[in-house]
């Protein structure tokens, strides 16, 4: 990889009270890459994505985006730089309609391109088009995941953070979600940082990958390289 990274973490440490969840994490995500982060449950993957968004903030080390230090910025201000996240557990606004959830997604950029962007996310996830007036809480798990990604896309992000988008979904839905991630990257050059516990799909799709264990990066390499690695296979791809 050449040129400055879009996102760079350097020696990031994050605590929950006295408990250290991340220690000395450094990683790069370059423009137009899909980078994946795999690791066991409790390794600190969600903490890492949330630290990028400033909640919780890193207590030492730095997070920078397009060369700018964002370690101490507030979450809502970070989104305005072009970072969007579909978080763990999807966090759909259950009592709002699908359309309202999507409109909330436009908050960082305003509503100048709403129609165009709605058309784009409905092309990716046609099922959402039929559900616009339905409350978020009434959607199936797969639909909620699609909505969470679509909501993130409504802010026209330069960097899309996805936290376990396949968790708990039927195989056919998982396949569709991973297809969309690939399409976004290929067709729009979208930069994607993908966290997955279920590593097979993610490694196959990613240009590069990191392995997180107990809050530390223990391995990094090309996606296919890690997919073939014995240690990765035994630890994270058991049964796959």
């Amino acid at each position: 990889m050449t040129g400055a990274p879009l996102l760079a973490l350097r020696q990031v440490e994050t605590f929950y009270g006295p408990v250290r969840a991340l220690s000395g994490v450094s990683l790069d995500v370059h423009e137009a890459e899909i980078v994946t982060l795999i690791g066991a449950n409790g390794a600190g993957k969600s903490t890492l994505l949330m630290t990028i968004c400033g909640n919780p903030q890193a207590s030492s080390g730095s997070v920078s985006f397009e060369g700018r230090d964002i370690t101490r910025m507030q979450t809502h201000a970070i989104t305005r730089l072009g970072i969007a996240q579909s978080p763990e557990g999807r966090r759909i606004f259950a009592r709002m309609t699908v359309m309202e959830n999507l409109l909330i997604g436009t908050t960082p950029v305003g509503d100048a391109h709403v129609d165009e962007d709605l058309a784009r996310v409905f092309d990716l996830f046609p099922i959402l088009r039929d559900r616009t007036r339905q409350r978020g809480g009434t959607l199936s798990g797969g639909e909620q995941q699609m909505l969470a990604i679509a909501r993130a896309l409504m802010s026209r992000p330069r960097l899309l953070l996805l936290d376990e988008p396949s968790l708990g979904l039927a195989p056919i839905v998982v396949r569709r979600i991973f297809e969309v991630i690939g399409e976004l990257n290929r067709n729009q050059g979208m930069t994607i940082f993908l966290v997955e516990q279920n590593a097979h799909h993610a490694l196959a799709l990613a240009h590069r990958a990191y392995v997180l264990a107990n809050g530390e990066i223990v391995m990094e390499g090309e996606g296919r390289e890690l997919l073939a690695d014995e240690r990765v296979r035994s630890a994270y791809l058991a049964g796959a």
Binding site: N55, T75, H76, T79, P87, R91, L103, I104, T107, P108
Partner: protein, 304 residues
């Protein structure tokens, strides 16, 4: 029948004002999950600004009533909203994330402070004001009893209806309202979506205080007397209204307000006026026994 109709008019007028104040309780509860115990005092501040502003306008010789009314309303809304903003900044924001009772205690402190502050600046005596709007329509005559709808009552009801309709539209149709509801449901996700949660919470206090200011102006015009302590009972009743309707629910606050106003008016008319407040609170107790989440409130346990 005529007597009944008159009580209905009186009750709706009272209820409109309670409803306006109840919205402030319910919105703040919705977004930070806590009761703003200083909200009654915010209403009281609105009433004092109204009284002072009319005195100043009178002194300046402004004779046009609609003009004066408009100026007073705007002034009361803006200044009272500033107090609402300050209450959040001082009593709530610094304590966010601390133990649950802390902000309640600081809000009660704020409420006591505001009472004393007004008492010091304005004195403890009851202040009275000449009626600004008098007259009305006689709707019906029944022997010597006549049913009147005063211009002031008509104004109170129409301003309330307009404000409530406008407010409902803001909450349901505008980006600000969406941000407000998003913060109510999930502040972490709201922030991840680009919403400035702190600003939205501030705005909620400001909007609630603005409505309380209107209520303060209306009641000052209606009763003509105020003192530094009026926020207590009116605040308590508006709070009761919010709980009765379902705390956190906007239509609930409006419905609860109307019910409390009607109960009070009818009880005073048909039973013993001395017990009208007891009647209102008793209805609250009954509703809470049979519907703990209030008339229009969401049940506590939500399907995830």
């Amino acid at each position: 029948m005529a007597y009944f109709l008159q009580q209905l008019i009186n009750g709706l007028t009272l209820g409109a004002v309670y409803g306006l104040i109840a919205i402030g309780y319910t919105m703040v509860y919705g977004i930070i999950g806590m009761i703003n115990f200083a909200h009654g005092e915010i209403y009281m501040i609105g009433a004092f600004i109204c009284m002072i502003a009319f005195a100043v306008l009178g002194f300046m010789g402004i004779a046009s009533v609609p003009m004066a009314l408009l100026v007073v309303l705007l002034l009361a809304i803006i200044l009272t909203a500033a107090y609402g903003w300050t209450v959040e900044r001082i009593a709530y924001r610094p304590l966010r994330g601390s133990f649950r009772l802390a902000p309640l205690i600081s809000a009660i402190g704020m409420s006591i402070f505001l009472q004393n502050y007004v008492q010091l600046l304005q004195g403890a005596r009851v202040k009275a004001m000449e009626p600004v709007i008098s007259g009305g329509f006689v709707l019906m005559r029944d022997g010597s009893f006549q049913v009147t709808l005063s211009y002031l009552q008509l104004m109170i009801m129409s301003v309330t209806v307009v404000l409530m309709a406008g407010f409902t539209t803001v909450i349901h149709r505008t980006p600000l309202g969406r941000a407000q509801r998003a913060c109510e449901q999930d502040q972490k996700m709201a922030a991840l979506s680009g919403i400035d949660v702190d600003r939205t919470i501030s705005l909620t206090f400001v909007l609630g205080a603005g409505l309380a200011a209107v209520a303060g102006v209306m009641n000052t015009l209606y009763y003509g007397v105020i003192d530094f302590f009026i926020g207590f009972l009116v605040g308590l009743k508006a709070f009761t209204a919010a709980v009765l309707g379902g705390i956190g629910s906007l239509p609930g606050a409006m419905l609860g307000g109307l019910m409390i106003g009607l109960i009070e008016a009818f009880w005073a008319a048909y039973f013993d006026a001395a017990y009208k407040d007891v009647a209102a609170f008793s209805v609250l107790v009954l509703v809470l026994i049979f519907r703990p989440s209030g008339l229009l409130g969401r049940p506590k346990v939500e399907k995830v």
